[in-house]
């Protein structure tokens, strides 16, 4: 059984401390919901989990092995969804998705169709992405999750710009993923209502600049 763990993680943005001493534990099939006020570092934590942002302190580990020792393996097992949709307007919806499928080593011929259908945009497959609405682009980006290889999903506010129906589709997608032993970390404002999700309130790890300065003086 897989396990993704973070121990006493520190995060700096530029020179500003964001959070300190953060721990989390994400078992196979688990879901972690990140909450906290603006600026408490929800996006930063997800970027840190993805390996885009190196932690200023602490370690991330996968099944007990530090993630930093094998970044290639870590990239191969994660799917990240950020604020930007990464959709190329000049390519069709299917071509956009096929590219990501190829990068992940999946077969585009078999993977793309079902992934589009999972978010009910199969009928848009051959439409150039420049004709898609904001919500449809978002769904196209979400469809990457259905390509199937990633064990660890890192979703940064996936529910923004989605209608109720699509949110429930996303919820189903996440449930199926977890049933298959996958894990997911979500930052969210609007509640996705994931069952048996562990709530991680980042507000409690926030460091004030005053405290950081005081500790530095003491050091």
């Amino acid at each position: 059984m897989d396990q993704f763990k973070g121990a006493s993680l520190d995060c700096l943005r530029s020179t500003r401390p964001v959070f300190r001493g953060l721990d989390f534990d994400l078992p196979a099939g688990g879901a972690l919901v990140l909450t906290g006020p603006n600026g408490s570092g929800k996006s930063s934590l997800l970027r840190l989990m993805a390996g885009l942002l190196p932690p200023a302190g602490g370690t991330l580990s996968w099944n007990g092995e530090p993630v930093a020792e094998d970044p290639d393996a870590h990239r191969a097992r994660l799917a990240y969804l950020g604020h930007l949709d990464a959709v190329k307007p000049a390519l069709t919806a299917a071509e956009n998705l096929a590219f990501w499928a190829q990068l992940e080593g999946a077969d585009p011929a078999t993977a793309v169709g079902p992934a589009l259908d999972a978010l009910a945009i199969g009928h848009l497959a051959d439409l150039p992405a420049r004709f898609l609405s904001a919500g449809q682009k978002r769904r196209l980006n979400l469809a990457r999750l259905g390509l199937g290889k990633a064990v660890l999903w890192l979703l940064d506010e996936p529910a923004t710009a989605l209608d109720v129906e699509t949110i429930s589709r996303l919820r189903d997608l996440i449930h199926r993923h977890r049933d298959g032993g996958g894990m997911v970390a979500v930052s969210t404002h609007s509640d996705l209502e994931l069952k048996d999700a562990v709530n991680l309130d980042l507000g409690q790890y926030t460091v004030s600049a005053a405290r950081a300065a005081a500790e530095e003086t003491a050091a």
């Binding site: 530029s14 020179t15 500003r16 004030s208 600049a209 005053a210």
Partner: protein, 243 residues
Amino acid sequence: MLNYFANPRRFMKLSGILTPWMAGATLILAGAGLYLGLFASPADYQQGETVRIMYVHVPAAWMALFCYTGLAISAAVGLIWKHPVADVAARASAPIGACFTFLALFTGALWGKPMWGTWWVWDARLTSMLVLFFLYLGYMALNSAFDDPQRGTKASAILAMVGFVNVPIIKFSVDWWNTLHQPASILRMDGPTIHPDMLWPLFLMIGAATTYYLWVLMLRMRRDLTEGRVRARRQIQAEEAGA
């Protein structure tokens, strides 16, 4: 050793002690060098009195390279071992090095006019010095081009390392190009061996330039670190005002 100086507080303490010594050393060395260079040394039998430009030109040219080496090493240390003081040192070195490079070019032109009859020749040394000047400007421009100063530091550190690999290649290519274009014989700057009476003021002035670099480097680093603390204080205020 590196870890020891990586602590900004320790650096502030140490540089506080060293700064006045560097200031004193610069003044003494420059004073002695000027006296020997302007009064006590003879004029060159070929170049006449213009040889006295050498006492400011050669130190400037030497420091142009010295500062770039210092910059590149600091940048590498800051990038690889993440020492905050090294980043500050790299940033502080750049304007000093750029000044020395400019001065080397400027005094070179003033020396070249009476000696070669022209302000500027596309000589290998002049050309590679000019390129070095551009590299300094690029480093400083990149360093200040970002809203997040941390990004500027990292991006320009990578540039400094790329430049450091490139400087010998550029130097070599310019040498090669120059030998193709014009014979080097007219442009011999390093004429006959230097008279010992000229060597002493030259050494003193090089020493003065080096201590000047360390002096201003420490001043600029202290300023950067102090400004960092000011920013941190302001942030605390902003938080208190918001709470």
